[in-house]
Amino acid sequence: MNIDFASIEMLFYLAGAVAVIASLKVVTQKNTVHALLYLVVSLLAVAVCFYLLGAPFAAGLEVIVYAGAILVLFVFAVMMFGLSVDETLHAPQSRGVAVWVGPMLLASLLLLELLFAIDSIDIQQKLTANIVDARQVGKLLYGSYLLAVEIASFLLLAGLVAGYHYAKPDSDMHSVLHSQHKKNNPRSS
């Protein structure tokens, strides 16, 4: 088998390798923020894979929703923890630039790959030959999977409510009841 660097397969394997390496880094990193960065890379790599597999819509969603929205959520959460007390304490801040090296390398690898794929006509042809486009997905989604969509929406709603409820500061009903009890106590005793 002659190794053709320009083929879709090679691109896919490369993207896959990036995803694997980035994921490993996610799992093994000490620093939360670093891990998050690697996670972004991993997600992007997966998005490339999707694209190469003929699912540009999914790839887009992966980038927008996952790498965009969910990861931002993570970042906010990490901010709220005030990670100075957590594991960042053990990860020295001095190597500030070095933090970026790994993700940068991987991300640029991906970028190169993507550029290459877009640039190559051969690959473009092959890709468009077997694409499953958003129209098909949309039809199916709002056709036979309508119920699943409804359920997913409920899930999201529930996630919203629960997220709100849990993340709320502690000054709620509990303390109100507690203070009332305190107020009542002298009268009853």
């Binding site: 083929s7 879709i8 397969e9 896919f12 394997y13 896959g16 995803a19 694997v20 994921s23 996610v26 799992v27 939360t32 891990a35 998050l36 996670l39 991993s42 997600l43 997966v46 894979c49 597999l53 003929g54 699912a55 819509f57 999914a58 969603l61 992966e62 929703v65 996952y66 969910i70 959520l73 993570f74 906010f76 959460a77 709220m80 923890f81 007390v85 957590d86 594991e87 092959k126 077997n130 499953v132 098909q136 997905v137 039809k139 199916l140 989604l141 999977y145 699943a148 969509v149 997913a152 929406s153 899930l155 999201l156 529930a158 996630g159 629960a162 997220g163 709100y164 409820h165 849990y166």
Partner: protein
């Protein structure tokens, strides 16, 4: 038909899944566990997309979208819980959260 064999796609999915799973088991920090979970969900997504493109069906992508929603909801609730825990215990160590004893 894409040139990428389905087996390789699934292999990639498996490797990612395994890595994520390892993260869930190994890491004590709950935040990392959540991230690992994301990796696992992603791996499943890969598998679905791969299968969808293999058979040229849209169902794979539909499933991926559902996974996506699931991940979003899970992360929202999970992170909220984490914030709560952080407030209460000043720690994200999952091993300290076993007061229910199963």
């Amino acid at each position: 038909m894409t040139a990428i064999p389905l087996a390789h796609v699934l292999m990639l999915a498996s490797i990612l899944f395994a890595i994520g799973f390892m993260g869930v088991i190994v890491r004590k920090n709950t935040l990392f566990m959540l991230m690992s979970l994301e990796v696992m969900l992603n791996a499943v997504g890969v598998a679905f997309i791969g299968a969808g493109s293999y058979w040229q069906q849209a169902d794979g992508q539909v499933m991926f979208i559902l996974i996506l929603t699931l991940a979003a909801a899970e992360v929202a609730v999970g992170l909220a819980l984490l914030i709560r825990l952080q407030h209460k215990y000043q720690s994200l160590d999952i091993d300290k959260l076993n007061s229910m004893q199963g």
